[in-house]
Amino acid sequence: MATKEEDQTVGLMPKCRLLCQGAEGRVFETKYWKKKAILKQRFDKMYRHPILNKKLTRQRLGMEVRGMMKARKLGIKTPTVLLVDQETNSIVMEKMPGIMVKDWLKAGKYSEADLDTVLATIGKMVANLHDGSLIHGDLTTSNMIIRTESLDITFIDFGLSFNCSAQNGPEDKGVDLYVMERAFLNAHADLPGLFEKVLGAYEGETSLWKSTFNRYSEVRMRGRKRSMVG
């Protein structure tokens, strides 16, 4: 892992400063035409077989860019994609001001009304994504950026996103909601009831509530009641 201090050249971009190492790749801060930008590079995962690694890296780079573009068309705030380089598996995108919703929730410097607004916004945004047949695939509070003054939310990390078919829609959306529920429950165990508010806003916004909710309840039962032997 490179040190945070030094500037380095990553792919096509000089002067990149390492911000963090996410699960998918390294995230750097850089400049693109004098504007602050983020560079996300999927480096080779040495633990994976080279063939598998190449396939997944390619696939996810594509899915991430397509997911961000589609979300934007659906009216969801995502960073603007500035540059994609398939040679070095890197994406340069707009740097969104703000902090992770996870950190915002953990810091706890907000009013009850602010919290309700934020949870409702998240619920509506997910509903809009789903109504447009886009599944995010990794809806955790680390993948949502909040601007603390305006409470604007941006979704990031579309590496696992995909378009769902009409046939599999309810299942995929149900799983997406279930992943989000557990992310809220586990990362914010000290703040119960957050996900219920998100789901409430989702219900108010989506036009496909019944089929999605029924399937989500089913997915939930699968997770909770599965017999566990061994």
């Binding site: 063939i51 992943v179 909770r224 061994g230």
Partner: protein, 342 residues
């Protein structure tokens, strides 16, 4: 824990095809930990009734062997811990019956233990890991776990079958031996494989799904072997590479999400050296440490029940004999972990 006095616990584990009795002290010393495994012929798995019968036949000699190895008499035992669940009903009941009988003859208190928590606490004891992300992989479980607010919380898990179950069934379609375990035989054969065959890869956030790759394997394996386009070794190699990459990926996701650097692998599949090696590469890349144990503690055993039993005993969590029931379904995040204060 009782201050000043060392307490001793005997633990009983029999939730699947292993039956184990272990003796552990409150200092964390493992005095004895014998185990017997019910092994079925190639191409078959273990059924609840036959497994229970096996356990019933070997458990009493196992208790005697355990006491002898530890060089103790029943008078030295302060409490008995047993697996309350999760697991197969009949084997769980058989084990609990023996434990209850001994508790009444020896007149000692009983402590119930969640099997999954047993694996985690044993892993922490043996490796010295403090607060790692835990990958728990066995025949019945596939979970990515992190401790928070007095519970072991499940961040990711399989949405269909467990990884060990997937490996067992894959071994069955190749006709591999179940001795010492199907997973071990796949691991050995995989070392001779060279050709990588692409197989379905399914990760959903921090969750995984193995049903797709298993159906693919079941459909394709026989065809490929007949045509001679791949050997059994190639198939084992590709199968392992694919499912382990999925496991390492969800573990890495949880590590990034929780901001944790260290990882602990527990459960029967955890003794697979290839899985450990892949996990180590990932942990190194993140500047973290991989903690893993060998087959003595990865695979179900009595000590892994005795140790958390002692931790709970130290908090006064004993139950009367009439409450010492078993349950097949018992989530990892169900029991309150009142011996941890962080």
């Amino acid at each position: 824990m009782t201050k000043g006095k060392v307490t001793i616990c005997m633990g009983f584990e029999g939730s699947a095809n292993k039956i184990g009795v272990g003796i552990v002290t409150s200092e964390g010393d493992i005095l004895a930990n014998p185990r017997e495994t019910f092994i079925t012929p190639p191409g078959t798995g273990f059924l609840p009734r036959e497994t229970a019968l096996h356990h019933q036949q070997v458990i009493v000699p196992l208790v005697q062997k355990c006491l002898k190895e530890a060089n103790l008499t029943p008078k030295d035992i302060d409490c008995l811990a047993y697996t309350k669940g999760p697991g197969m009903g009949a084997p769980l009941v058989s084990t609990a019956v023996v434990m209850r009988t001994l508790a009444q003859i020896w007149n000692v208190p009983i402590v119930p233990v969640n099997h999954c928590v047993g694996h985690i606490e044993m892993g922490r004891l043996v490796t010295g890991a403090v607060d790692p992300i835990v990958l728990y992989v066995s025949g019945g479980n596939t979970q990515v776990i992190a401790y928070s607010e007095k519970r072991y919380r499940i961040f990711g898990e399989t949405i269909d079958i467990a990884v060990g179950n997937c490996l067992d069934r894959f071994a069955r379609c190749l006709g591999l031996s179940n001795d010492p375990s199907p997973g071990y035989n796949i691991e050995q054969l995989a070392k001779k494989g060279s050709q990588y065959i692409e197989m379905p890869y399914n990760v959903k956030g921090m969750d995984v799904s193995f049903s797709g790759i298993l159906s693919f394997a079941e459909d394709t394996v026989v065809k490929m072997l007949k045509k001679g386009t791949a050997t059994k070794a190639d198939l084992c190699f590709s199968f392992q590479e694919t499912i382990f990459a999925m496991l390492v990926e969800i573990t890495e996701r949880a590590m990034a999400h929780c901001n944790t650097q260290d990882v602990l692998i527990v459960g029967g599949v955890g003794c697979n050296k290839r899985l450990q090696a892949m996990m180590k590469i990932m942990a190194d890349e993140r500047g973290g440490v991989l903690y893993a144990t060998d087959e003595r503690y990865c695979i179900d055993n009595g000590a892994m029940i005795a140790w958390p039993g002692l931790l709970a005993f130290g908090q006064g969590d004993t139950i009367p004999v009439e409450e010492s029931s078993v349950t097949q379904r018992y989530r990892t995040d169900d029991p309150v972990i009142n011996w941890r204060d962080d």
